[in-house]
């Protein structure tokens, strides 16, 4: 069991990070902290992907004097996917932060509960 955990340490860390972010995003009333938790979830996904691309004892996928010998380099595909993920994560964070700024400007609060009450009062 212990060897299994050590062997899959990155995947397990990623799972714990993901759930940490998920719980905070679901249950924390503060909108800014929801966005922070969203970024934690993103990091978990990146950690998982990047660790999948690792191959023990090999070098990064930049061709050096050794030429295009596949057995010298790690898997380049997860690196490209993580790059895509980072860009999307930055964009979504920026967009949601702008929304939160507008919400704060309109309602004067970023607390979920107060926001629900204020919205109800406004709707009446």
């Amino acid at each position: 069991m212990l060897s299994l955990i050590i062997e899959n340490r990155f995947a397990i860390t990623a799972a714990i990070l993901f759930v940490t972010g998920f719980v905070n995003m679901m249950l924390h009333p503060n909108l800014i902290k929801k966005i922070v938790s969203f970024n934690i979830m993103d990091s978990a996904a990146f950690l998982m992907l990047a660790s999948r691309g690792m191959i023990a004892g090999r070098i990064a996928a930049i061709l050096t004097d050794g030429g295009a010998d596949v057995s010298r380099y790690v898997n380049p595909i997860p690196a490209g996917l993580v790059l895509t993920g980072i860009v999307v994560s930055v964009s979504v964070s920026a967009f949601s932060l702008a929304l939160v700024q507008r919400i704060y400007g309109t309602y004067g609060t970023v607390d979920m509960r107060e926001l629900l009450e204020a919205m109800k009062k406004r709707g009446e």
Binding site: A15, F18, L63, A68, Q101
Partner: protein, 284 residues
Amino acid sequence: MKLPSCFTRWVEGEIGVPLRAEFEPLEKKKSVPKIGPSDLDDRARLDGFLRLYMKCGLIISVLLLAVLLAGAVALPAFAAPGNPTNNEVVRRYVGCAEEETGAENVIAGMILNYRGFDTFGESCVLFLAVCCVMLLLWATNDRLRDEAKHCEKTAPRDAILQANARLVLPCVLCFGLCVLFNGHISPGGGFSGGSILGAALILFAVAFGSEAVRRFFTAKVFNAVRITGLMLYAVMFGVYIYQGANGIASELARYIVLVIDLAVGLVVMSTMYGFYSFYTKGEL
């Protein structure tokens, strides 16, 4: 630039605003909010809902953790060469990247050639993100803009920051350009180089004030740079695909990778500075 007031109010969540026609602003109800029995009912219902939400959220999270951990333990071994992810796609990419794309950095060759449409989508996502931030924060946010202007006028510039910026900025710029233009033969590329250039712009704005940036990087230039970047990418990649993608000589393909890297760098740089500028000042 002032957006139409109806649109502003629509963004702020008002329901039933006609987006085209101008109309008289509705009179606001000035009745004093009183707490009647229905309000208390509502509050109790909200409390009950939030409690239920809390419980359901916790149960779902525990279930999710269990499923993820079970999945994590069942994965193939970490860093083993025989994993199913290390399949013929990797062999193809690593084996043929230099020959087909002219890039010694396999990752740059992969994201700009084999997966070029994907990266084009990414650039569009950045472009749209900055458009959305502009829509939400530009000019409609008068309070923020006035505050920023007031701060800029009254606060003295930090001498230590300015002296340091004079020292650091040329190095950052050179490093950013180096990373940007060597993306195909070394670690780096459009995204990292563009972020470094954007960081240099932000440092310049922080140290010398946004007026100094506006001398050469106005809203017009900002729009021109990011649209040029996206169009350059689209045209270069379109030409590349039209030519049959793999039929291009290695030397030419290398230039295409370089130009696409430059296009991505332009988009990323303007996006980074745009985010900073809109969040702090509400305008460029």
